[in-house]
């Protein structure tokens, strides 16, 4: 037992990986056709928005100071609606133009959150909850009724782009970005700020800038999530994002990142999202009602918090 605890502390990713393997096996037993080759791309296409929502919520948590970004899900909805109602069908609707525009919007909205939090010293809950309402209001205003699209480049993202499943690109891009950041001083600085902001400040770290960039990074990943969501649902819808509010947070917690900052990463959240996706898939196949799946999400999130607290608060470093 003690050995297992020690191992978990050294390699926190082992928990979501083991949980994912278990859930994958359970899925195989219940739905044997789960792994048939034709299923792979659509399955990954459904998984992508889950994973991106989880990853997008991560930098805010990592930056500490009570950091949380509740506006990730409505931002995904906003990007989805801007893409469908504002860009597709116009000269800006080509992927080469649309994707950078949307990523810039995501980064800007994230940066506004970051500015409110670090420069204007708003509590992160309030700043991002305010943004949540502004964005969900805008979503409703821009798309009071769902607008459907058919075909186009977005549909490939939920299927295949050439031989590659589209989800590999959408989920792979932020992971590559994160691994690149891990090789620079930025990721370490972010974790240092999250671990103890006052200490980081004393050693000369520009805490404000680090926090603003963390929220902007979350915004960029959320924008990718909005694009992947468009590929999946092939419409603009002001309601769909509701699904992702809770599970974005649950993915971070299940992945094993410290929600108080200082420890964790985007890969962990992606693994957490895979676990949630597999759980969702399994419960769906067992004909569990969507309301009870909601209960399961809540339970998974609570369990992740409780287990995380039990494993990590007894760590020798903190004693």
């Amino acid at each position: 037992m003690r050995g297992a605890l020690e191992l978990t502390r050294r390699m926190p990713l082992i928990v979501p990986v083991l949980l994912g393997v278990l859930l994958f096996a359970a899925n195989l037993i219940v739905i044997p056709q789960f792994v048939s080759s034709g299923q792979l791309s659509p399955t990954l296409g459904t998984l992508a928005p889950f994973a991106l929502a989880g990853m997008a919520s991560t930098p805010a948590f990592l930056s500490g100071g009570g950091g949380i970004d509740l506006s990730i899900a409505p931002l995904m909805g906003f990007i989805n609606i801007v893409l469908v109602t504002g860009l597709l069908g116009t000269p800006f609707g080509t992927p080469i133009l649309a994707i950078p525009i949307l990523l810039a919007i995501g980064a800007a909205i994230g940066a506004i959150n970051g500015l409110l939090i670090s420069r204007l010293r708003y509590p992160p809950v309030i700043a991002t909850l305010g943004m949540f309402f502004v964005l969900s209001g805008l979503d409703l205003e821009l798309a009071p009724n769902p607008v459907t699209i058919s075909g186009g480049w977005t549909s490939h993202l939920a299927g295949t782009v050439g031989p590659v499943p589209g989800a590999v690109l959408t989920v792979g891009a932020p992971l590559l970005l994160w691994f690149a950041l891990r090789r620079t001083a930025y990721a370490d600085t972010l974790l240092a700020v999250g671990d103890h902001d006052a200490t980081a400040f004393s050693t000369g770290v520009q805490v404000d800038r680090v926090r603003i960039s963390a929220y902007a990074l979350g915004g960029i990943v959320a924008a990718l999530g909005g694009i992947a969501l468009t590929g999946l649902i092939q419409s603009a819808d002001a309601q769909t994002f509701q699904t992702y509010i809770l599970l974005a947070l649950a993915a971070v917690a299940l992945g094993g990142s410290n929600l108080a900052g200082g420890r964790g990463g985007l890969l962990a959240s992606a693994l957490g999202a895979v676990c949630i996706f597999l759980l969702n898939n399994l419960l769906g196949a067992l004909h569990v009602s969507s309301q009870l799946i909601q209960v399961a999400y809540g339970g998974a999130l609570l369990l992740a918090i409780v287990v995380g607290a039990l494993v990590f608060t007894a760590s020798p470093l903190q004693e």
């Binding site: 708003y122 805490v207 918090i305």
Partner: protein, 339 residues
């Protein structure tokens, strides 16, 4: 030289002391909130026709009472340095379960007792988990909230199961209801009683002082002999109880179960507390300020609806206004002051 004898200034000693007490009282008054309330009231009265009629004033006050009661628990939770995001889910679940139980011919008293104790219990679990494991109140209350509302929806088949609302509950929550034969909505009476009770408990009892001590510094309070875990459990239990109360009252108000009825209260319950001037840092503020906050927010909504704003515009304006108010009050300390 003789004129500066010590005897001469003697009588004036008490008067500066008195005036400083008065000054301190005035300085402690939520002046900005009172001014905002008056201005909003005047603007609404001038621009929204029919606002000053008795029935419309009562409607606004009853809506403010729902918000004020929901925010009572939130106030206490924020005073100890926590936050409760399970408020909308508990309101929603209580609203779903109450008519369903009434339809199963449970006696009304038992239904109320059951629903309110469930709310209190969920809150107590929140408080225990957060305090025992030192985890984020945001995440714990969000997840228990999701479980409660999911469970409520599943049990009542998305609110489509048989439902009945007893007439007395409808009367109790109605703006045209009577209390002891007087034409005052009973919900308002309940809110006033609650406000007095919470105000007195917070300011003038040992429990109240322990609550502020816990919010100011949990560790110091612990060492001073305050049972801080009990305070945490109690505060969250009270929040669960007040949310469930609003769920029951709203059932009477709209006369049925309605999916999503609690959702607006996530933001508004927080906003009422923060607009009132209670700080998210903990230990600063009281329930009277929240009462003002609830009145201000309800007037803003009335004004927006009175001018024909769509739900979307209401959400946007509301979000921006809250940011403005919180910007004046609920901000955190500068990092360079914390080094």
């Amino acid at each position: 030289m003789a004129t500066t004898a010590p005897a001469t200034p003697q009588p004036s000693v008490s008067s500066p002391r008195q005036s400083s007490t008065v000054l301190r009282f005035v300085a402690g008054l939520p002046v900005l909130q009172i001014v905002a309330l008056v201005v909003l009231f005047v603007v609404t009265a001038v621009t929204v026709s029919g606002f000053l009629s008795k029935s419309s004033l009562y409607s606004v006050l009853v809506l403010a009472a729902f918000l004020g009661i929901a925010a009572a628990g939130q106030t206490v939770v924020i005073l100890i340095g926590g936050i409760d995001l399970s408020v909308p889910s508990l309101i929603g679940a209580a609203n779903l379960v109450t008519p369903a139980l009434c339809a199963r011919h449970w006696p009304a008293g038992l239904v109320i007792l059951f629903v309110l104790s469930c709310g209190g219990l969920v809150g107590a679990v929140n408080g225990y988990l957060i305090n025992r494991l030192s985890v984020s109140p945001l995440i714990v209350t969000l997840s228990t909230g999701a479980m409660v509302i999911g469970g409520g929806l599943a049990w009542t088949n998305n609110g489509f199961s048989a439902a009945s609302v007893p007439t007395w509950l409808t009367t109790f929550s109605s703006p045209t209801g009577h209390f002891l034969g007087i034409a005052i909505p009973p919900v308002l009476v309940l809110w006033v009683l609650l406000a007095v009770a919470v105000g007195v408990v917070l300011r003038h009892t040992v429990t109240g002082h322990h609550t502020y001590a816990t919010g100011a510094n949990r560790r110091a309070a612990d060492l001073a002999g305050v049972r801080t875990r009990r305070i945490w459990i109690g505060a969250f239990a009270f929040s669960g109880l007040s949310s469930a109360t609003v769920g029951v009252l709203l059932t009477g108000f709209i006369g049925s179960a309605s999916v999503g009825i609690g959702d607006p209260y996530l933001f508004t319950s927080l906003a009422a507390v923060l607009v009132g001037g209670t700080s998210l840092v903990g230990a600063r503020g009281d329930y009277w300020r929240t009462v003002l906050g609830a009145l201000i927010l309800t007037l803003i909504t009335t004004l927006l609806i009175g001018h024909g704003a769509s739900t979307a515009v209401q959400e946007i304006v509301f979000g921006l206004l809250i940011m403005l108010f919180v910007g004046l009050y609920g901000r955190e300390r500068r990092l360079r002051d914390r080094v």
